[in-house]
């Protein structure tokens, strides 16, 4: 399998107004008149300004160490901890990925907020997060297709900072995937700039399984995303 780079239009991502409403908290059928039109407008504006990018790189040279729950990619060790280890350990190769909604949307968020349009800034913020997630979904299903062609399966995607894997793990990831294509820079504090970006790993092999991400894997209390992602 080959490394791949993607550029998406926001319209490719098929964002839905009702999904954004769910994230804000509105339940099915609840009056969301205040935001419905605005969400549509923001998605439309985002499609004019955002350059959404994603990339993955395939690494064949992987080794697992059961005792420390570590994965070695080449000679770099990743301390991914038990949960992610469990999901990845049957992989024959792995993909490291990066995706970003780009810097424009972050600028739009702060501009709206600074101009006193708090609501628009907030909606932009959520739409930005959804763009990243949807871009990662598209990239992932593309990878799945490539893997299937070779008779392989893939795992779900896992990110440093989730499921016990320290967010600092991103520094090692960025050594293997420099972020140049996506235009993402990793700061000393392991924060990706632009903010609306995500990084992670996907396992590939004949014997891996795709397990849906369940909120039970995560120990985050009071998360706004919990109620509908798990339900």
């Amino acid at each position: 399998m080959k490394d791949k780079k993607f550029q998406f239009n926001v319209s490719d991502l098929k964002l839905s107004v009702s999904q954004v409403e769910r994230i804000i908290g509105y339940k099915e059928g609840e009056d969301s008149g205040l935001v419905t039109g605005l969400i549509g407008e923001v998605i439309e504006e985002a499609s004019q300004i955002c350059s959404v990018k994603a990339e993955y790189a395939i690494f064949q040279d992987v080794r697992f160490e059961d005792r420390g729950k570590m994965i070695f990619i080449g000679n770099i060790d990743f301390d991914i901890k038990g949960i992610v280890y469990q999901q990845l350990k049957k992989s024959e190769s792995v993909a490291l990925f990066l995706c970003t909604a780009g810097p424009e949307i972050s600028r739009r968020i702060s501009n709206s907020m600074n101009e006193g349009d708090l609501l628009k800034g907030y909606v932009y913020d959520i739409v930005g997060s959804e763009i990243v997630e949807a871009a990662a979904d598209l990239m992932q299903s593309n990878l799945e297709g490539e893997a299937l062609n070779e008779g392989n399966k893939i795992t779900n995607r896992y990110s440093p900072g989730y499921c016990g894997w320290d967010v600092v793990g991103q520094h090692k990831m960025f050594r293997l995937l420099n972020g140049e294509y996506c235009g993402v820079r990793l700061t000393e504090s392991a924060l990706m700039n632009p903010v609306k970006s995500a990084s992670g790993i996907i396992g590939i092999g004949k014997n891996v399984k795709f397990n849906p991400y369940t909120c039970e894997m995560c120990n985050m209390k009071g998360c706004t995303y919990k109620k509908f992602r798990s339900g």
């Binding site: 804000i24 908290g25 509105y26 008149g33 205040l34 935001v35 972050s106 968020i109 702060s110 907020m113 006193g116 708090l118 609501l119 800034g121 907030y122 909606v123 913020d125 900072g161 320290d166 967010v167 600092v168 700061t187 000393e188 504090s189 392991a190 924060l191 700039n193 903010v195 985050m220 209390k221 009071g222 998360c223």
Partner: protein, 222 residues
């Protein structure tokens, strides 16, 4: 209570900014917070009373509804906007010293962190609680906090962080503030922060949501 203030409080509770604003639909065409605050002043209501009897209690109701998940962030933001339009008429009295706020609150997202939505929501609700908010923005290092503290002695401090890594910087900033200003109150928050962590780094209070912070501040000055 004065009838104008009652109406003003309702405008803030339900996010009616001014006469032309279409939201909420059932208040269409009516005066909003902007007009009513002006009217109250013209009728001789003291700015203090407007603040104490309309703006602050209305925002408190809004914060409570949000904490109980009866409303969501968008409605809270509309209320904040309505409050700001009323506050604009009172600001000159703050400047002249005729009306006083509860105190000063310095807030920032810590060094190495660029997340600001959560911090902005907290800042907004605290302003609604009658405090002057000094917002240091994102990636605010220890020096920036110390400088602001020197400019605004006695202010309460709020720190926000969204990653476990930048939580470390939160700890450093708290220690540095403590070294020089042992008596200042420091609030912390953000997704990975917990009450335990707050205690561990020597901060005074953690709240998962803005209203918790507003209540804590209220109790500080009561």
């Amino acid at each position: 209570m004065n009838e104008i203030l009652e109406r003003l409080a309702l405008c803030i509770e339900f996010g009616k900014i001014n006469k032309t604003s279409p939201y909420p639909p059932n208040m269409k065409g009516q005066d909003g917070a902007d007009e009513l605050a002006k009217l109250a002043l013209n009728e001789g209501v003291k700015p203090d009373e407007i603040l104490e009897n309309a703006l602050i209690p209305a925002m408190e109701i809004v914060g409570g509804k949000y904490s109980r998940k009866e409303i969501y962030v968008p409605q809270m933001l509309m209320s904040a906007k309505a409050m700001n339009s009323a506050l604009a008429h009172i600001k000159p009295f703050f400047q002249s010293g005729e009306t006083k706020r509860k105190g000063k609150f310095i807030i920032g997202t810590v060094a190495g962190d660029l997340h600001d939505i959560g911090k902005n929501l907290v800042a907004m609700m605290i302003e609604g609680g009658g405090w002057e908010v000094i917002d240091l923005g994102v990636d605010a290092g220890t020096d920036k906090f110390l400088k602001a503290i020197n400019e605004h002695p006695g202010a309460v401090i709020g720190l926000s962080a969204l990653l476990t890594t930048t939580m470390e910087n939160m700890k450093n900033t708290v220690s540095a503030i403590r070294e020089k200003h042992a008596d200042l109150k420091i609030l912390v928050g953000g997704a990975p922060v917990t009450t335990d962590y707050c205690k561990k780094i020597g901060a005074d209070f953690y709240s998962p949501d803005p209203q918790g912070a507003v209540n804590y501040l209220k109790q500080l000055v009561s």
